[in-house]
Symmetry: C2
Subunit: 340 residues, 2 copies
DNA sequence: TTGTAAGCGTTATCAA
DNA sequence: TTGATAACGCTTACAA
């Protein structure tokens, strides 16, 4: 039942523990033949290294920075809250988490920030920012310098599936599915409100939404996306005019992560209504809207899970491991009044 | 940035590290005054013990047993699969997981098994079994002997909120909510199929279901629960007769964790239909039923999360810690065709 | 290219 | 009631 140690490996391979360590960590300056012998011993004994002991010896500590947009509302607050909570949870693994605010619309300043990170003090960064050439390059250079980088919530195409966040296509499709099924017998049009359609996330949600509507709900029609650009006056104007011009509305989909600003406008404009309303992310606002019947469903990604998954992935990266499979998939959660 | 160590504590309190260790671990044979001094030093320096180093020194290993019912179908298989996966994930924390099958309907044999567990080889047990006096007592004695015990999926009232599983009242209510909203304009009755209504879990789901229907869907009527007792012939009979006697059916709720047996019977009896069907737990069967339109929604608890949460809670218990809050809440998940 | 020996932060076994 | 001292499994100077 006792796992073999480096001592056992050393004996088996007829070398010292220092040499075993060199092989285990891929350091060079070891004869090819010795490497082979050690590797054979590893295979033969079924050696699994004790990471905790290794960390103890190295006095390894991890400091991770979460780079989040300075703008934002309650969803951002939730994320920050969970970063703090994760800091407490992972403290025993010698992990520290910090939040750094970035200007999401200023790629140069983001790149400058990433460039300024010192591998000596920072083990990794989780980055929530839209994809731009500057940021993409900065991430690349960061990893060259030995700082782990991980796209967070906002996708970066270059990183393939190395990122943390939910499948936005599926999220949009699920919003459409809910509106379609909840409206059942009725036909009509659906208003879609976004902060901006510039980001990949928004596009994917919209694509998923349209695909689902077109495929399964022929009597529903998704209107063009209204973009608020985070401007309350503009939001007021375009939403009001959309209500005027569409008398057959049956549903409303708030596609952006921060649901409060647009939904407040809507609530003020039309008050209670039997319009079916779906929004993203669980926050104090969406939660209470759900309870009061002002919202029919929330499509959410679990903020705690997002943060912990990011920490585990960054840590695995630093340790030179692969993060474990199914745990890291971020679910597209459906939250209704009954499963708050 | 460096955390204080026992060495710092010893210096601060003017004692040796051995004494610090005694105080930290609540061992006795230390003068009251010394204890106070060490505790003051802990508070003053903000000492946080390094569990990894402690485990290394103790050569601490954790062996957890999952006691699962021998009967069961695909949901049980999913659980077992995730126990194996968790075994791999937690291997680096020196955690081993084993599965042991129990006869869920034979409380004496369950109690005997629990009694047979040796604290030397077993750190804790996660128990999935209905509550009975015998099991309750065995759990109590188990904990006296220093083996951590944790009700798993099946609730045990005596353990208060020390268990792992979803809120079954909320789960039932969510099933009702979905059927209610999906059926929208239609009124009628809802068939409810359970394996048995003996267990607390079933009762709570049923209570939640009824509460939601009564409160929010006055035009719907939940029929008495059909109990299959896990017997295919009986299932066939009672389901067939229920279909005969209720011409106004609009929905069907399979309340038990294993949905395949009853749903297979239903599929054979009525084929495709526009009856709204909701079942529990994500398995290959329910997944494919959702895809093919034979099922409208799944109410699920994430099996991987269940297992990992159990491991973390047992481990925290062994370490004499409290498990961390929000991470351990098992969500009532709603799974639709679009967010599989 | 390899080995020796000290050290990481805790616990355990003695002896005092 | 306390304190030395040696582990635990691994890394890391420094020496050979």
């Amino acid at each position: 039942m006792l796992r073999p140690t480096t001592k056992d490996l050393a004996k088996e391979a007829g070398v010292s523990r220092a040499t075993v360590d060199r092989v285990l960590n891929g350091r060079d300056g070891v004869k090819e033949k010795t490497v082979t012998r050690v590797n054979e011993a590893i295979a033969k004994l079924g050696f699994v290294r004790n990471i905790q002991a290794a960390n103890l010896a190295k006095s390894q500590k991890y400091r991770f920075v979460f780079a989040l947009p300075r703008s934002g509302d309650q969803f951002k607050d939730e994320i920050i809250r969970h970063i703090e909570e994760a800091g407490a949870t992972f403290a025993e693994d010698l992990v520290w988490c910090d939040v750094h605010q970035i200007d999401e619309n200023d790629p140069h300043s983001i790149a400058a920030f990433l460039t300024s990170l010192d591998p000596k003090t920072t083990s990794g960064v989780a980055i929530m920012a839209p994809e731009t050439p500057q940021v993409r390059d900065a991430i690349y250079r960061l990893e060259q310098r030995g700082v782990a980088a991980l796209p967070f919530i906002s996708d970066q195409t270059t990183m393939k599936d190395h990122w943390v966040g939910m499948n936005n296509h599926s999220a949009g499709a699920t919003a459409a599915n809910l509106i379609g099924r909840f409206s059942n017998c009725a036909g009509g049009s659906i208003m879609i409100i976004a902060e901006s359609m510039q980001s990949r996330d928004s596009l994917e949600r919209r694509l998923g939404f349209d695909a689902e509507i077109n495929e399964n709900f022929p009597n529903l029609r998704a209107l063009p996306s209204l973009e608020t650009y985070g401007n309350p006056d503009r939001a007021q104007d375009i939403i009001e005019s959309a209500f005027r011009n569409n008398s057959d509305l049956v549903g409303l989909y708030v596609l952006s992560s921060e649901a409060r600003p647009p939904l407040s406008v809507v609530q003020e404009l039309i008050g209670t209504t039997d319009l079916i309303k779906i929004a993203h992310e669980r926050t104090p606002f969406t939660e209470s809207a759900l309870k009061s019947g002002n919202l029919d469903g929330i499509i959410a990604q679990n903020p705690g899970h997002l943060v912990r998954s990011a920490v585990r992935k960054l840590k695995a990266n630093v340790d030179g491991r692969q993060a474990k499979g199914s745990q890291e998939r971020i679910r597209v959660e459906v939250i209704l009044r009954t499963n708050l």
